[in-house]
Subunit: 434 residues, 2 copies
């Protein structure tokens, strides 16, 4: 057997667990490392799951007909034709992405930066991913020209790239690649004969309705697999729901057979009660639509307010257009950080912030960027409250950043950043202990 | 990337889906292909899941502390020490087994015959398994002497076996390897430095309390991983619950780190509401214990009655001691089957039974045996009724085989087998159409 090249713990989940341990130990921590959505389950959705608790059969490997049909209709409402027979459901979009990498085979090109798990999943399969830089302000989609160069070079070196992953909208940058860029990416993928795996888990969390993310499935319908789920829209990460839409083409049908085979051998089927509730959610009844709209407004308000704090101390930020993430770059503060805190890498910066201040964030290196980068990914989705009452109030608020508990988190970040950039000597006792 | 050597659909799940299609098309079918347990969810367990529907966070990758503690206590009550910190929960024991193969790395030795998914999972990872015959009447545990030979030969040929899988009690044979055999297997594993992966999902479905399956964790505590789940005990396959107990040793701790890493990258965490319900079940309150006891009695009664039908027409059967499976061998009928039905393989026999009679069963080849074998695996766990009322009555019955709906299935099998072995010409119209 080929030795798995490496097994690493998911950076987001590891950071979450480390923060939970600090909190248990009595420390004050601010969790901005993982993108878990800190909101309660929509009561009607919770009731659907409760009512489905008696469902105990596996059902079809690809998911129930009800869930596949609801997911297909969901995509149709967004302008993408979809055949329920080519929809595959899984226990999260993460396992679907793993199974897709396995089913497609070969090497994979990834945008740089990109979500922590793409490269790690490839690593489990013994694949060294081919990182391709994105265009400025357009995270999630590899620069099409660089993709051509990288894939051509990889093939010349004997490697076998067969797919490219894109994230639309993007995690970690909170940006959205322009439709023209997506179109050029698709042209490149077609020329290079790559399957496009389009992770669109944030597609309903675009702040401006008039400027949605455009899926590569529009431009390369024959080769684009789209994945999404309810984790981000409806804050049910812990339920594990994901769906994949395979292309209605020879490529798509062959891949469907392999994907369902992989699913049958790894997870059998998604949890039946969860499927039942998810099928309801994907039909998008008005209360679901309104809940997602409210959560999108909340993400936008808090993420923008947070971005302003980072910008105020001199970090560079690309305007965010979606998700609950920002990706500030401390490069303009490099000299100060080294002089005052002996910080020369994003990992050291993130470590300092958690150890000295209990601020949990992830360095750009977790997203495939060079260690020297001073970018951090900041997730604001855990700042909406500590109780269901607070979180429900945050969802309903017209001005959520004025709520005392959200304001307190923003003030704390402001205070920490002010301390970080203050021109004074390092505080060894804080850096060592805290 | 190493090309996955093959992607096959799970034989049991594929057979289930094919039977469901036949039923939808109006055919009368008898589902004895997959071991899905056709019983309703224990009402108290269903209520636990319903009450947990609001849980939406990922929680720890390895599973909640409550579930890990409950699982550890479950093992302690069975004489195996267990540390909750070395328990890893997953969405089914199947994904845990896949993740274990990935985490251990190298090649894997498997008993022959063995459950359909071990070899298929290895195939997904590019591993050709090393099949090792079991001792007569002791399925699930490779013959220790043959294991030594096979592993030594594989190493001499440049392969890298690092683990051996055992199934206690066994699927597909319904037998249990003797403690002395398990001990010798453990000695061989220690000499060969193999991790023992012990799939004990049927350990509570042993018919005779006085003769339980003995885990290899007793004899090789430093290197045995035990997996189990609630799928078979409590008929919640569709919920996807599994737990793994890793050894409290250097081997175990290193493997734990890798296993949790793999889990974090493939599935993040098991579904949170399901974990909550599973944690309650693993504490084994009296109603759970009684429910499992009743289902075990039911499995025994129906499986033994079914075995008698197969034995009556001359198939060979090893006495079954656990599970809901029998594994009759039609070898004594080979000449007849070839002359009357042109059947020369288990696959042809299974195909004839489903096409001519709507009887769904699996051939031995699905369990890694040679195609020529005329063994079939017969699962009786779907014969308990078509409604929750019938199934609940079956659980409560002192003589379940006297219930009309169970009796009808047994009678139907008797009739089919009588027709199969009747000395007459093949019925081409039935074989072609049906």
């Amino acid at each position: 057997m080929p030795e798995p090249t490496e097994v690493t713990m998911s950076a987001t989940l590891a950071a979450d667990e480390a923060l939970a341990r600090r909190r248990l130990a009595g420390e004050q921590v601010l969790s901005m490392a993982s993108g878990e959505i800190g909101l309660p389950v929509l009561p009607a959705l919770r009731a659907k799951l409760a009512a489905a608790a008696g469902l105990n059969t596996y059902g079809p490997v690809a998911g129930s007909a009800a869930l596949r049909t609801a997911a297909a209709d969901y995509w149709r409402r967004r302008g993408l034709s979809a055949d329920p027979g080519l929809v595959v459901c899984g226990p999260g979009s993460k396992p679907l992405l793993f199974a897709l990498l396995l089913a497609v085979g070969g090497d994979v090109a990834l945008p740089m930066p990109s979500w922590v798990s793409y490269a790690a999943q490839a690593g489990l399969l013994g694949v060294r991913p081919i990182p391709v830089e994105t265009l400025p302000g357009q995270g999630g989609v590899p620069d099409p020209d660089r993709l051509r160069e990288a894939v051509t070079a990889a093939r010349a070196a004997g490697r076998d790239p067969r797919s490219v992953v894109v994230t639309l909208p993007d995690n970690p940058t909170g940006t959205i690649a322009r439709p023209g860029t997506v179109r050029r990416l698709c042209e490149a993928a077609r020329e290079l004969d790559l399957v496009v795996i389009s992770d669109e888990i944030y597609c309903d969390l675009v702040f401006d309705d008039a400027q949605p993310a455009v899926s590569p499935a529009v431009f390369a319908p024959e080769r684009t697999v789209v994945t999404t789920g309810l984790t981000k829209n409806l804050a049910v990460g812990g339920w594990r729901t994901g769906v994949a839409r395979l292309p209605d083409s020879d490529i798509g049908r062959a891949l469907h057979t392999r994907l369902v085979g992989v699913a049958s051998q790894i997870w059998s089927s998604p949890a039946a009660p969860v499927q039942e509730a998810a099928a309801w959610a994907f039909t998008e009844p008005p209360e679901v639509v309104e809940h997602i709209r409210a959560s999108r407004r909340l993400h936008e308000a808090v993420a923008r307010a947070m971005a302003a704090r980072f910008a105020a101390v001199g970090a560079l930020l690309t305007p965010i257009r979606a998700t609950c993430y920002l990706y500030p770059d401390f490069e303009p503060l490099r000299e100060h950080l080294e002089a005052a805190h002996r910080i020369t890498s994003g990992a050291e910066l993130a470590q300092h912030l958690v150890e000295a201040y209990g601020l949990g964030l992830l360095p750009a290196s977790a997203f495939g960027e060079p260690g020297r980068s001073l970018r951090l990914r900041v997730a604001t989705s855990r700042l909406y409250g500590d109780t269901d009452e607070q979180r429900t109030a945050a969802l309903a608020a017209t001005d959520p950043v004025a709520l005392p508990w959200i304001r307190a988190s923003l003030d704390r970040v402001e205070e920490v950043l002010a301390d970080l950039v203050a021109s004074r000597a390092p505080r060894p006792e804080a850096a060592l202990h805290a």
